[in-house]
Amino acid sequence: MATNSIKLLAPDIHRGLAELVAKRLGLKLTDCNLKRDSNGEVTFSIAESVRDQDIYIITQVGSGHVNDRVLELLIMINASKTASARRITVVIPNFPYARQDRKDKSRAPITAKLMADMLTTAGCNHVITMDLHASQIQGFFDVPVDNLYAEPSVVRYIKEHINHKDAIIISPDAGGAKRASLLSDRLNLNFALIHKERAQANEVSRMVLVGDVTDKICIIVDDMADTCGTLAKAADVLLKNHAKSVIAIVTHGILSGKAIENINNSKLDRVVCTNTVPFEQKMKLCPKLDVIDISSVLAESIRRLHNGESISYLFKNNPL
């Protein structure tokens, strides 16, 4: 049992999730102030003492000015560290640069590793994240990383909102097969896979369906939806194969570029994202979007981490 108390810090942009988590924990966000100077540099100040406290910095990185968010986060961590915080935990549900996790061609940067190093350099002692694109990224860190899963929340959403007796879980690519099959096991559903051939990043060329989807509600499951080109094409393929309807559930709805257009023009019934990424203003533009709130999972993990309890319970169960 920790003798110090929790301080929750959040940047000013994308504060929504942090507010929800704070509310769940019955705490207030610590007063702090991020200021962007006219030359683009960031100044940060904390208005309360954090000496010997357990700091949690809750940040969301959406699309757009990713680098700004990253540097703001680093400066916040560093400020907490130099202010003598006992432990600094970064809660970053959507880990930025997670897709650049390998040297896929010569001289390509492994930016995910760089991000991990930078977080550690800034002074972070613990990382809480969710559905990492590749769980191996945990190995990039020298500090403990808790990779939470959105799966329990997704299972709950499916049970509550979708007539899952007639449903089938679809993985939109071979890489996500494991995630999809786990989910289908949890729900006792069948499972199909779409195999795609990718020509270039953010572009998909040809798709082949493996499995039978006739007269089924197809639930496409993925960890990330960026431009949604894949999802839209997958929906086409599924409907061509006589599916009844198609719903997509993704953890990180980055929804950048033409995503909204793609979804609106697609044959998808619904696109459900968790609120790891702020996309609320996009919901107004796109009636097909729906949200799963994962703030309870984050709040519970913060509580457990602070009290030194096991977090693995959250991997299988959804806190209320």
Binding site: R15, N33, G40, S45, L74, A79, K103, R107, M118, A122
Partner: protein
């Protein structure tokens, strides 16, 4: 030159071209861009194995993007087995440390006489009950913050607790501050004076604002990314070098500035070198000594009365705050407005040390950002009878509305180096009012010498 590779960051390609011209090599192939979600993507087009790599990126424009790009580039070179990676940052971003918060915005609210407390709390709950973390600084950031507000708004509508956020929108319209000092967060529920009092230690107990000092972090990030060496110019704080555990070569612009003054200012022999603030006194006096010119200094006096009025003068050289305490006043209402107006006269004690009457003045500074310091200094010099005011500046960042202020200021001619792109400055102020001092030769020579393992200290004194 063998085994040397020079990569241009996206911040300042023309400077890189010039540096490469001086070295008679070509910049190496690199594709810089962004993925659709805003993450930086780079693609290095040449082998860097066992090469001596120089990455040139200035800390201008969209600072954070450019800095991340630099880090990713350095890291990519390092993981691709480069022998040595040198970060060349003509202008080093985040080199200016924010001030200690003792005169932070909102200070007047605490030190206001007790009798006005009732009125004040009435006003502040009406206007000031906002989340001050939403205070934007510039037009540029305002847009992004508006989006953010929208995000928070809609996200909060999930749990139907919007009212206090809604208020922050009108705050956005009004607040704009130029100081680097953080603003006191005002809480809803409690009156802001109480909150401010708690924050600013009015009872001589409690806590003062903790301000992030990004310097060490930036240094450590560069080292973490894999930089083996850093080349920069005219660091704002020379102590910054101590934040690094790798070699830092801080090149001086002084020889170039001296040469400029000697060759391009016809009346320089009768001129006075002026430092616009006490922080730059040492730098300016060195130039004055070298040229055998008299020296004057502008000193901003800050008495304890400042605490009673809005702190509209800051210590940050190159930074600074408008003469009129607009941002603050806009948050106050009638009675307070008068109060702060009357108090503000205490702050206006900028004074000139030295004689400039009927002389040509040359203002020297290392950095012009918001341009408040330098334009105000120029006005003061003209008021004191200076015939002509030149400004010679190393880093012309000119953020926000700075160019406009310079255009309307008493500065007759401004000379800046091209550590930061100056195309916009020339376009705005016209060719006759701006001279650009080219630093590419110094950087080229420094790269050549470092690559060949020669001493670069000669560059500190002489023009190449």
């Amino acid at each position: 030159m063998n085994n040397i590779i020079i990569f241009a960051g996206s911040s300042h390609p023309t400077l890189v071209e010039k540096i490469c011209e001086n070295l008679s090599i070509k910049p190496s192939q690199v594709k810089l861009g962004k993925f659709s979600n805003g993450e930086t993507s780079i693609d290095i087009g040449e082998s860097v194995r066992e090469k001596d790599v120089y990455v040139i990126q200035s800390g201008c424009g969209h600072v954070n993007d450019n800095f991340m790009e630099l880090l990713i580039l350095i890291n990519a070179c390092k993981t691709s087995s480069a022998n040595r990676v040198t970060a060349v940052m003509p202008y080093f971003c985040y080199s200016r440390q924010p001030d200690i918060p003792y005169t932070a915005k909102g200070a007047p609210i605490i030190s206001k006489p007790k009798h006005s407390a009732v009125k004040e709390s009435g006003n502040t709950t009406e206007i000031g009950s906002v989340l001050t973390t939403h205070k934007p600084v510039s037009q540029r950031s305002r847009k992004s913050i508006d989006v953010a507000i929208e995000n928070t708004l809609s996200s909060l509508s999930l749990d139907r607790s919007t009212p206090r956020i809604l208020k922050s929108e009108d705050n956005i319209q009004r607040s704009s501050s130029n100081s680097r000092i953080p603003v006191i967060p005002e809480r809803d529920g409690t009156s802001s004076s109480e909150a401010a009092g708690a924050l600013f230690n009015t009872n001589n107990s409690g806590y003062k604002l903790w301000v992030a000092q990004a310097g060490t972090l930036i240094a450590n990030l560069l080292t973490t990314a894999g930089a083996d060496h850093v080349i920069t110019m005219d660091l704002h704080d020379p102590q910054f070098q101590g934040f690094f555990s790798i070699g830092v070569d801080n090149l001086y612009c002084k020889p170039l500035i001296q040469a400029y003054i000697q060759h391009r200012i016809p009346e320089y022999k009768d001129a006075v070198i002026v430092s616009p603030d006490s922080g730059g006194a040492k730098r300016s006096s060195k130039v004055a000594d070298a040229l055998g010119l008299p020296f004057a200094l502008i000193h901003k006096e800050r008495r304890s009365q400042i605490l009673k009025g809005p702190p509209d003068a800051t210590l940050a050289s190159g930074g600074g705050v408008p003469l009129s305490p607009k941002p603050l006043i806009s948050n106050l209402s009638g009675s307070e407005l008068k109060h702060s107006m009357s108090a503000s006269k205490f702050v206006q004690t900028t004074m000139l040390v030295g004689d400039v009457r009927n002389k040509v003045c040359i203002l020297l500074d290392d950095l012009v950002d918001t341009s408040y310091t330098i334009t105000r200094a120029a006005r003061l010099l003209k008021d004191q009878g200076a015939t002509k005011v030149y400004a010679v500046v190393t880093h012309g960042v000119f953020s926000g509305d700075a160019l406009n202020r310079v255009a309307q200021s008493a500065i007759d001619k401004i000379a800046v180096t091209n550590t930061v792109p100056q195309d916009e400055t020339i376009a705005f102020l016209g060719k006759n009012r701006v001279d650009v001092i080219d630093v590419s030769r110094v950087f080229g020579e420094a790269i050549r010498r470092i690559h060949n393992g020669e001493s670069i200290s000669m560059l500190f004194e002489y023009v190449t």
